[in-house]
């Protein structure tokens, strides 16, 4: 059958956002907000269209296609090309990135309009869309790269965009530098991960002689047989990169701070797309992991531990976005655990659905925040310590922001894993894999799933139910259509996302099998589904019971009384930031100081000066011989002569 192939269009998924950002860079500020926002959205939207065309082409021609664009680095045997890879895996990512991305662009048109006014610099409106487009371009490079090195370009590129967008309001935050610090923290933590990825790439090149995916994976079995240690190293160093980008233990610490960025950024970058790059990487390299069981074990435990750990912290947070952030970390843990177990499809499935409902939750949270901000302005108490993101200041918002409430509810239920929403199916698939192969992991993940339901219940209750706890919450108002429309679309996707890979149908499974190879299709296990659904309902119900009663103004979390110091730990994120400060940051700072002052200025810099001073001291002492007395000069001559004579006689 002869159909039109659109594979050659693939570079446009990168070029379109680049065009968008270039235009905005040149004229965006002059032509105004509507133009800047819609042009950027259009660019991303067109990228989405291209992605769809690629998907259509793939459906008739499922084999991977490589579209080279040009040479990049050619030195000796090292040949790296700028080349795009279209296969079922990359196209799934492209669709998610550009699809969710387009919605978030549209949302941002409205959101940023208020945000730049709230923060007092309307000049940055166009800049936001430039960064956003840059992000889309970088993310597209990441997912469409044909080799590890080009993927790394996107990998670091998205890190840069994350840096820029976290620090978008760089003069705000704690002490005025909080946001900038958060941005820096994100970039540097990611760089630690990138360090691992770099080492993994070096090892790949040394042992495989190329960075090209196909060629590398072709040899993987052979190399694993000869050098199992090398494969273990590659996979583990790669995992370090994954923990950085996908915010897993131990490098997850940047993601909560990244909430300093505007809310659409949190939705797009720090929930739906960028942070899933690590999952994508493991999925892409699943052939490697399949060959190294040890690495698989490590990966799944990292994922599972993160899932549970982050979920416990989410319980103790008051910031509406922070809860979602820890939830994101936790959900990423699910995905990582899944790919670690070899359930790559399940991981990817959860990745997609998570993009829908977590994107939705963040955007809805943004809508809530701006609603409260508006309420704050109406209430006319522009007190500085009022934090529009603090859930303790909210309450009862279901009346003021009914639409947002509804979509938020959908998102929360999907996240909690309530059937038949998207989250239920994808999470269930992960749990089934664990149930079948790793019982210990299963227990951990189920516990995490229960906590997820609980904190989502807590959040829903605190934000939308009960009575408004502040005047601002009382006067909060609903957001305009440009904001709510993307919410509704995402809500729809969150409801229907499950159909992508319904048990027994396995659409995604079949689709991805062209790239990942034929795997064992996930079964639907009634016991597992039952356990997870029951636990989710219990979690939600428990949260409702505990939190719906509390309405007084001096808000003390009810759990605090029940759990005591345990809750203090959750509240304080288990003091991990403090721990890192104590064992890494402060020692490095002290080390740098030690190197700068005593060592460099005090020792190394003084070597030259010391030599000079020594020479000078020698000069002064010899100079004393020159005392001006003729007789001592004569004596010196005589001594010199005597020395010569002595030498001649003793020789």
């Amino acid at each position: 059958m002869e159909t039109v192939q659109f594979f050659n269009l693939v570079p446009w998924v990168v070029f379109l956002p680049l065009i968008g950002l270039t235009v905005n860079l040149l004229v965006g500020r002059k032509l105004g907000e509507i133009f800047a926002g819609s042009f950027a959205s259009l660019a991303t939207g067109l990228a989405f269209v291209v992605s769809i065309l690629l998907a259509v082409s793939l459906s008739s021609h499922p084999e991977a296609v490589t579209i080279p664009l040009g040479d990049w680095i050619t030195i000796g045997t090292l040949t790296v090309r700028w080349a795009f890879r279209v296969d079922t895996l990359s196209v799934v990512m492209m669709l998610v990135v550009s699809g969710v991305g387009t919605l978030i662009h549209i949302y941002s048109i409205g959101y940023m309009h208020n945000d730049v006014r709230h923060n007092g610099d309307t000049g940055r409106y166009a800049r936001f869309f430039i960064f956003l487009n840059l992000f889309i371009a970088a993310m597209m490079i990441l997912v469409s790269a044909d080799n590890f090195l080009m993927m790394f370009v996107g990998w670091e590129g998205v890190g840069l965009c994350s840096y820029l967008l976290i620090g978008f309001w760089f003069e705000k935050g704690k002490n005025g530098t909080g946001n900038a610090e958060a941005a820096k923290k994100a970039f540097i933590t990611n760089r630690i991960g990138d360090f691992g990825l770099l080492i993994a790439m070096f090892l790949i090149f040394v042992n495989f002689g190329t960075f090209q995916f196909d060629e590398v994976f072709k040899q993987a079995g052979q190399v694993a047989a000869v050098k199992p240690g090398v494969m273990l190293l590659i996979t583990l160093f790669m995992l370090l990169g994954v923990t950085g980008k996908s915010a897993q233990l131990p490098l997850y610490v940047w993601l909560p701070d990244a909430m300093a960025g505007p809310t659409p950024v949190s939705a797009l970058i720090h929930a739906a797309t960028m942070v899933t790059a690590g999952v994508y990487l493991v999925a892409r390299s699943s052939i490697f992991y399949a060959l190294v069981p040890t690495a698989q074990t490590v990966v799944m435990w990292v994922g599972a531990a993160t899932a549970l750990f982050a979920a416990t912290i989410a319980l103790g947070q008051y910031d509406i976005k922070k809860v979602l952030a820890y939830s994101t970390i936790s959900q990423l843990g699910f995905m990582v655990a899944a790919v670690g177990m070899g359930a790559t499809v399940a991981g990817m499935f959860h990745l997609v659905t998570h993009a829908f409902f977590k994107g939705l939750l963040f955007l809805a949270a943004g809508s809530v925040i701006q609603g409260v901000e508006r309420g704050m302005h109406h209430a006319n108490h522009a007190s500085h310590d009022f934090d529009p993101q603090d859930m303790r200041q909210m309450g009862g918002l279901r009346k003021q922001t009914p639409l947002t409430f509804r979509v938020y509810l959908i998102g929360a239920l999907a996240l909690s894993g309530i059937a038949p929403l998207a989250g239920f199916f994808s999470k269930d698939e992960i749990l089934v894999s664990a149930w079948q192969t790793q019982p210990a992991i299963f227990i951990v993940l189920v516990l995490a799933a229960f906590l997820t339901a609980f904190y989502m219940g807590r959040q829903l209750t605190m934000v939308f139910f009960g009575e408004p706890r502040t005047e601002a919450a009382e006067k909060a108002s609903e957001s305009p259509l440009v904001v709510t429309l993307p919410l509704m679309i995402l809500a729809l996707l969150s409801v229907l996302g499950g159909v992508l890979n319904l048990p027994g149908v396995h659409t995604l499974e079949t689709w991805l099998s062209h790239t990942l190879g034929e795997g064992e299709p996930g079964h639907f296990v009634w016991v597992v589904a039952g356990i997870s659904l029951v636990l989710a309902l219990i979690g939600l119900g428990l949260a409702w019971m505990i939190y719906s009663r509390k309405t007084d103004k001096a808000y003390v979390d009810p759990l605090k009384r029940a759990l005591g110091s345990l809750f203090t730990g959750m509240e304080n994120k288990w003091w991990v930031d403090e721990l890192y400060a104590a064992i890494i940051l402060n020692p490095y700072r002290a080390f740098a100081q030690f190197m700068a002052d005593p060592v460099d200025l005090g020792v190394i810099d003084r070597i030259g000066g010391g030599l000079a001073a020594g020479t000078r001291a020698l000069a002064e002492s010899i100079r004393k011989l020159q005392n001006g007395y003729i007789r001592s000069y004569a004596l010196l001559m005589l001594l010199g002569l005597a020395a010569i004579m002595t030498y001649l006689f003793l020789r």
Binding site: A612, R616, A619, I622, Q626, S632, L636, M637, G640, I644
Partner: protein, 481 residues
């Protein structure tokens, strides 16, 4: 006395006759037109220069081997004449400003130069001794020329007593060499020494004593102590002249005597030269760092350069290296002479009454007030340091090449490291002139400045084409080698 005999001493003889004539003429000029005495003295030197150049390339022996005219003397004789001309150029304004404008200065200068010329072509130890005294005695007087300034008198007495002390060593050494070799003629001594008939112990002791005498003249450590005191006390043009002429003459004698008669003792003497060279380079350069007075700094710098010159001479016993050894020493002497005369010229411009203005700190701001002098001074300092695009670099280049060729790599490294130390104090002069503010009083004078500018230009221009100078030095072979 044949015509050859006359020719052989013609440059020196011209000067002596001219000096005597000048002594008389001075009675006439000194009060009325004092400017004529220096001009006439300069004319005499010019005549001597012309004569010496005229005879270049004609080796000959006069007075039965007492006088040897060879490539070596043909190189040095014009150099002395030119040095003399510069010394006159430096003196005229200085003497006038200091109120010591006496015509005898020029006469004494001519006598001293004639001694130097004789030294360069001495073929007999008697001539070496006579030339040594002929060049020294006028210098004793010239050092004290600024009397009644106490400094000047002190320097004259120091120079005189220590100089005579050193002459005593030299003389005693000569007598022992005579005792060993039965003759004072250098060529004959060589024959006897190489035939093995001479008493080696006597020769060695004699040579060591002679070395002490020469060491004094060239200011090698530990025979150097007089140098800074005398340079500081003596009138600056005299110090300038001493730093170049007397040192060159001392080296001429050292090279002449040692490479002509003692090559067979090289095994014994080389370590001594090695140690002297190393010690001189180290002490000269190191102590110069601690100096605050420009004159004393230049004095120590001249000691240090004596060390470099000695380094070239260390492989004198090696027949293969000897030609380079002599040539590199002569080349370096020339380069050093230009830079030293130039530096003293700038110093003379700075000097006021009673040694005023000769501290290094007095140079502050010279770069702004007299840019040309400062630029020239910079060239001299860079040349002393051995930085490329000055002849000083090629001087050091050739010198170190000789040392390494002779196999004395360690010594060359010592030399290189001490030249690094020297950069320290030479740069300080540049720092003062350009990087620090000040209002120095500079006594501009056509003749003094001409010397500075001429030497600076020569140092820079010839650095682009040092080849011809290398050739010239390489052709300056000693008789018998």
């Amino acid at each position: 006395m044949t015509l050859i005999d006359l020719y052989s001493i013609l440059p020196a003889a011209t000067l002596i006759v001219w000096a005597l004539f000048l002594l008389l003429a001075n009675f006439w000029f000194s009060k009325r037109q004092p400017v004529w005495t220096p001009i006439l003295a300069g004319a005499g030197l010019l005549a001597s220069l012309v004569v010496s150049i005229f005879f270049t390339g004609k080796p000959m022996a006069g007075f039965g081997g007492f006088i040897l005219v060879d490539g070596f003397s043909n190189f040095l004789t014009p150099l002395f004449a030119v040095t003399g001309i510069f010394a006159i150029g430096l003196a005229y304004d200085y003497l006038r400003r200091m109120g010591i404008q006496r015509g005898e200065y020029y006469t004494l200068l001519l006598f001293s130069i004639s001694g130097m010329m004789l030294m360069a072509s001495a073929g007999d130890l008697i001539i070496v001794f006579l030339a040594l005294e002929l060049l020294s005695i006028p210098l004793y007087v010239l050092s004290g020329f600024a009397h009644p300034r106490v400094d000047s008198q002190e320097s004259a007495l120091k120079y005189f007593l220590l100089g005579t002390f050193a002459s005593g060593f030299f003389l005693f050494g000569t007598s022992l060499v005579f005792g060993a070799a039965r003759t004072t003629n250098l060529t004959d001594i060589l024959a006897i020494v190489s035939s093995g008939e001479a008493d080696t112990m006597l020769l060695l002791i004699g040579s060591a004593l002679m070395l002490a005498g020469f060491g004094f003249k060239i200011a090698a450590v530990p025979f150097h102590s007089w140098t800074p005191d005398v340079y500081q006390g003596a009138p600056s043009p005299v110090a300038a002249f001493m730093s170049v002429g007397a040192k060159a003459a001392g080296f001429a004698a050292l090279i002449r005597v040692f490479s002509m008669i003692f090559p067979s003792l090289a095994a014994e003497l080389t370590p001594i030269f090695w140690a002297l060279a190393a010690l001189t380079m180290v002490v000269g350069n190191v102590v110069a760092i601690a100096q605050t007075n420009l004159k004393r700094m230049l004095a120590y710098s001249s000691i240090a350069h004596a060390g470099y010159l000695l380094m070239a001479f260390v492989p004198f016993g090696d027949a293969v290296t000897r030609s380079n050894s002599v040539a590199s020493a002569l080349f370096y002497l020339t380069v050093y002479a230009l830079a030293s005369l130039g530096a003293w010229a700038v110093l003379i411009g700075m000097e006021g009454e009673d040694n005023q203005g000769t501290e290094i700190s007095d140079l502050a701001g010279l770069g702004k007030t007299s840019p040309l002098s400062a630029a020239a001074m910079t060239v001299f300092m860079l040349s002393f340091t051995g930085i490329p695009l000055t002849l000083g670099f090629w001087g050091k280049f050739y010198l170190f090449r000789t040392a390494i060729e002779g196999g004395f790599v360690t010594l060359a490294v010592i030399g290189l490291i001490t030249s690094l130390a020297s950069a320290f104090y030479y740069l300080r002069v540049v720092v003062k002139m350009y990087f620090q503010e000040g209002q120095p009083e500079f006594h501009w004078n056509f003749w003094t400045s001409s010397v500075a500018i001429f030497t600076a230009l020569a140092l820079v221009v010839f650095s682009f084409m040092p080849g011809s100078l290398f050739d010239l030095a390489l052709r300056s072979m000693l008789t018998g080698s």
